[in-house]
């Protein structure tokens, strides 16, 4: 394929990934690396470098819209970013030392888990939880606009959430993804942060987390301008269009299709990794 043809096809696929990712709320980054490696036979290291850059673009691009809604909690974000950025740095250093087949296997596992999580009904927001002393000391508790006024929430299990976020950061740095699946585990299930607050806050954090490992990737020569350019522009364009045409009613079947895509890509990555084809 010529440079022009390759750039055009990668840009179109990235646009579609960004669009579907933002329409379904599952994030486009998680399908990019498997698509680039399986469809376009791109070396997984180049694919991870390009994906990481696009993750920063979508996170920062959507931040302004999210902030206006008034759900995100800047203190929770900043406190947990200590964990995710440390993790991301560790992940990025590990990525340069782990064989590519192992990267593919870990990636496959994360994809399968994401597919499983996307089919599971999300846990109901628990109301009127008692304030946790540590969360109170760290001023993590907050409130957000809800039907019939303001709703207060109390953050729970801070140490568990913090450790899980370290893991989320490490996976993000290792695989070049936003690792939304682990963040759901940490923020929704452990810390019991209401869904709307955790989604918008984690979007805010993803860009900072990815920036922590991007420097390492760039200096190791994993970020190729010819590949990162169509991926970044495509995903960014797709996600910006996606947030504009968000129609809640039709996302259900779209979500099902997208989680099937994630499932198939996860199996492919596992197979390729285990049989050493990557």
């Amino acid at each position: 394929m010529t440079v022009l043809g390759f750039t055009a096809v990668v840009a179109i696929v990235s646009f579609a990934a960004g669009l579907l990712g933002s329409l379904t709320g599952l994030g486009g980054g998680v399908v990019l690396v498997p698509l680039l490696t399986i469809l376009f036979h791109v070396d997984i290291r180049y694919a991870i470098g390009a994906s990481l850059v696009s993750v920063i673009a979508t996170s920062s691009g959507a931040a302004a819209a999210y902030v206006k809604e008034g759900f995100s909690n800047i203190r929770i974000g900043m406190f947990l970013e200590i964990a995710t950025t440390f993790g991301a740095l560790l992940g990025a250093f590990l990525a340069t030392r782990i064989p590519t087949s192992a990267l593919a296997v870990i990636f496959g596992g994360v994809l399968l888990y994401s597919a499983y999580l996307s089919r599971k009904p999300r846990p109901l927001d628990q109301r009127n939880l008692p304030p946790d002393p540590l969360a109170t000391k760290l001023r993590l508790n907050g409130s957000f606009p809800d039907l019939g006024g303001k709703r207060d929430y109390n953050v729970q299990h801070v140490p568990t959430g913090f450790s899980l976020m370290f893991g989320a950061g490490a996976l993000s740095g290792l695989l070049g993804i936003g690792s939304g699946a682990v963040k759901v585990l940490a923020m929704d299930q452990a810390m019991r942060i209401p869904f709307k607050v955790s989604t918008t806050t984690s979007n805010f954090m993803i860009g900072v987390t990815a920036a922590a490992s991007a420097g390492v990737y760039l200096s190791r020569g994993y970020v190729d301008p010819g590949l990162a350019m169509p991926v970044m522009l495509g995903v960014l364009g797709g996600s910006l269009v996606g947030t504009r045409i968000l129609v809640k009613a039709e996302t259900k079947s779209l979500r099902l299709v997208f989680s099937l895509v994630i499932l198939v890509l996860g199996l492919q990555m596992l197979y390729k990794g285990l049989w050493g084809k990557i």
Partner: protein
């Protein structure tokens, strides 16, 4: 959990986020969007130059070779932009993109300082140090 230095003042009773928090977030959100749009424009400009010159060459990313230092280090990227190279311009746009969240964290330090929230000034400085270590420590080409 790293050990936390609890402020010596008695902890204030919990209060819902003050309005300043929200205004700070709005400013930060717009800052991020502006940064992304600027970096996308720079990447796009680089793409035009790159494609105009190399459109018909074969594309091959099957084998990992690693980028030459012109696309790996900040001085290298600046050098290749000076030479009018499209791929250098793309990398410059990507560097701006990486710098955007770093700018956001820097502004948060100021915001928390204005709110006299010492604990969160410290937290934010830790995050900022990690980000700067990653970007400058590894890509200055030393």
């Amino acid at each position: 959990m790293p050990p936390l230095r609890v402020p010596t003042r008695p902890p204030k009773p919990f209060q819902p986020q003050p309005w300043r928090d929200r205004r700070l977030e709005l400013i930060l959100g717009n800052l991020l969007r502006a940064g992304v749009l600027i970096s996308a424009a720079v990447v796009f400009a680089g793409a035009c130059i790159y494609l105009a010159r190399h459109a018909h060459e074969p594309a091959n990313y099957r084998v990992f070779r690693g980028e030459p230092s012109d696309y790996r280090t900040i001085p290298g990227v600046i050098h290749s932009v000076m030479n009018g190279r499209g791929r250098g311009l793309i990398q410059l746009g990507l560097l701006l993109l990486i710098a955007t969240p770093i700018a956001r964290v820097s502004f948060s330090v100021v915001g928390f300082a204005l709110e006299r929230d010492r604990l969160y000034v410290i937290f934010t400085l830790i995050v900022l140090a990690i980000l700067l270590f990653s970007l400058l420590g590894s890509s200055m080409g030393v």
